[in-house]
Symmetry: C2
Subunit: 390 residues, 2 copies
């Protein structure tokens, strides 16, 4: 069976992170994604400058642009416009993440594209969406982390505002973009017609925090910070120091709590009336933590991880990214995909989609494109001469 | 035009957060989602106990179960099994988030369901996926935050491991589940046949951190913490104190940096050779921050937000969730949906999908179901008497 999006063509005007992450998902699902880049300078992320030695091919660019084809087009020239028009006319999806209004001024807004292609799925991704008083504000990940409340939730009570240490807003918004696009393709497949999708990073981010936002909306109680205590607020769903490293335990249910105490060698804590049930443990949380902490010192985090899991108590050692991604489990899951990157003259590993199909599912082993690498090839497919777009 | 998933039926064995978030997306897109709950006690999240006064209807349950229908079935009884078999036979999608192996022992694994329905889309969601050495470990959000490296990324350099203060792993994994399901439905619509989807919270979480994980895989350099400095690592893409509140600025490009200095009233900083370009600003980041911080004290965060955005410098005041969700922009975006909840005898507000369609897009205004509220109705639809499943 073909991959889910086999035979679909995506015209990709996106750049930086959120948009390219969305279209990377579409690549993995089998779509032909054509990345439009400006002739003089391509996607900013090509030149992300922390790591030297990756000219036009910075690692985060490789992460989300592999398997795409790149064409350079000057969208302000007649030749560039003609090529883009032909691309849109033959495409299934157009995606863009310019500031609201820009793509229309370039002549490729939704209404323009619909004239070229009455069945087009058009997705705009932006910081605040295509409408509303904040629509024209420029936005990047950390701006949205600030205005959404994300920065107010992590850390101990009273601790300073803390950004989630990676661009989670970009990734979540990008995932929502890919999801919305596939949804619209399914709708078109079943019922026909075009669709316009408006992905707002701020809207997406409020949804990402639904488990905090909706309880606030319903109860009116201001959300608090709970440090490393989890959503259950159980004091034994928390992170504890050991003699080497930290261990996070997720003992929420009564049986889990009792097994945890038994395995730690402190069954008397489980028998203490102050900790008799979930509510009393939450009410006496500080005391419970004080009593239980010393018992973790007997072993390392990795030892506790094994002991507690064998005893059916959810537990995981706190790892850094290298130890996490190099864990044998990840290799077994085939989460990493190896690509040959000609510009680096070597193979690299990137990530798959994060979910697996039994057959004909996500995956890509093609390299990221050089800036404009496929210009000639794509123009030829469109019946145009390469010279025309110069 | 109908909604994208109109006419599809989803048999939903999920509970707690990640699974119900996934099927909530399917509800919003028009699917008929039937939530299977055990007769004695339903979805744990119904009884989430922080807020009193919400019997069987805790706020986070309302957040992601509205618009579903609930049937109570004893899957160990002959009658319960028969009802579930008929449900699966007539469904398009089965979703479950038990520990690996449990749903098969109950008689409703993928192979069982395929016999009942050769075109079934079957999605399993679990902590570590359906294969690999960690597959049998129990997992909740904070366990995955620990083992994945998420907890090692937030905060200032050298600061303790910090959980993202809301269950972001549940949400992101749930979004991946919904995305994978819709993708498989599209694949089936185009090419026919069944599909099995294996969503691993750990795999999804590594993908959520792609912008950290892939650069590590490619360069071999261990990821560091950068506090509130953003992905660009520019010292003027950071959070600054003001005379009232904090402001996050995203001045990454040269023009943005120069405009920022002009608007702050310190154009001389933009002219300082130590801060002449992006690389030198990163190299002299501490000095630049020291020089620039005092100028923010002249105004409040909300004032700077307005001034900087008007001057085309990305900026956002750090807000808490209540101020974020009550911002007029959110109302304008129609992100909130009002539902009447009979069990509470009042209206509540929940969140939409986080993306908008021009027509026939996501949305739901139906209440969350009581435990087993639709048992009789659904059994009748299946041609069974209500008594049979008791």
């Amino acid at each position: 069976m073909p991959k889910p999006l086999a035979g679909y063509r995506v015209v990709d005007f996106t750049h930086v992170l959120a948009g390219p992450f969305a279209t990377n998902m579409l690549v993995q699902l089998g779509a032909d994604v054509i990345k439009i880049e400006a002739p003089e300078r391509g996607d900013t992320m090509r030149y992300y400058g922390i790591d030297e030695g990756y000219p036009d091919m910075a690692p985060p660019f490789i992460a989300v642009n592999s398997g795409k084809r790149s064409i350079t087009l000057d969208l302000k020239s007649a030749q560039g416009k003609e090529a883009a028009r032909r691309l849109v006319a033959g495409a299934d999806v157009v995606v863009e993440n310019f500031r609201p209004g820009v793509i229309s001024r370039l002549g490729f807004g939704y209404e323009d594209c619909k004239k070229l292609n009455p069945n087009i799925i058009f997705c705009s991704m932006s910081g605040f969406g295509q409408s509303g008083p904040l629509r024209d504000n420029p936005a990047i990940d950390q701006i949205i982390q600030s205005v959404s409340g994300v920065m107010s939730l992590s850390g101990e009570p009273g601790s300073p505002s803390t950004r989630v240490g990676f661009p989670v807003v970009d990734t979540f918004s990008g995932a929502m973009g890919a999801f919305a696009i596939v949804t619209a393709l399914l709708q078109r497949e079943r019922f026909g017609g075009s669709q316009y999708i408006d992905v707002s990073m701020l809207d997406s981010t409020m949804v990402m925090m639904f488990s905090i936002v909706v309880p606030y909306l319903i109860t009116g109680k201001r959300p608090e910070k709970y440090g490393n205590r989890g959503f259950s607020l159980s004091p034994t769903a928390d992170t504890f120091p050991t003699c080497e490293g930290e261990i996070t335990v997720g003992a929420v249910q009564q049986g889990q709590f009792e097994r945890l105490c038994a395995l730690l060698g402190c069954p008397e804590i489980a028998a203490d009336p102050r900790f008799a049930d979930k509510q009393s443990r939450i009410a006496n949380g500080d005391a419970l933590r004080r009593e239980i902490v010393p018992f973790f010192a007997a072993r390392t985090a990795l030892e506790w991880e094994q002991i507690l899991n064998e005893g059916n108590v959810p537990a995981g050692a706190v790892r850094e990214v290298p130890e996490a991604i190099n864990h044998p489990h990840i290799a077994h899951r085939k989460l990493l995909q190896t690509l040959h990157v000609p510009a680096l003259a070597r193979d690299v590993q990137v990530l798959g989609a994060g979910f697996r199909f039994e057959h004909d599912g996500p995956g890509n082993d093609l390299p990221p494109p050089g800036h404009g690498q496929h210009t000639r090839e794509i123009l030829k497919e469109l019946g145009l001469e390469a010279e025309q777009s110069a």
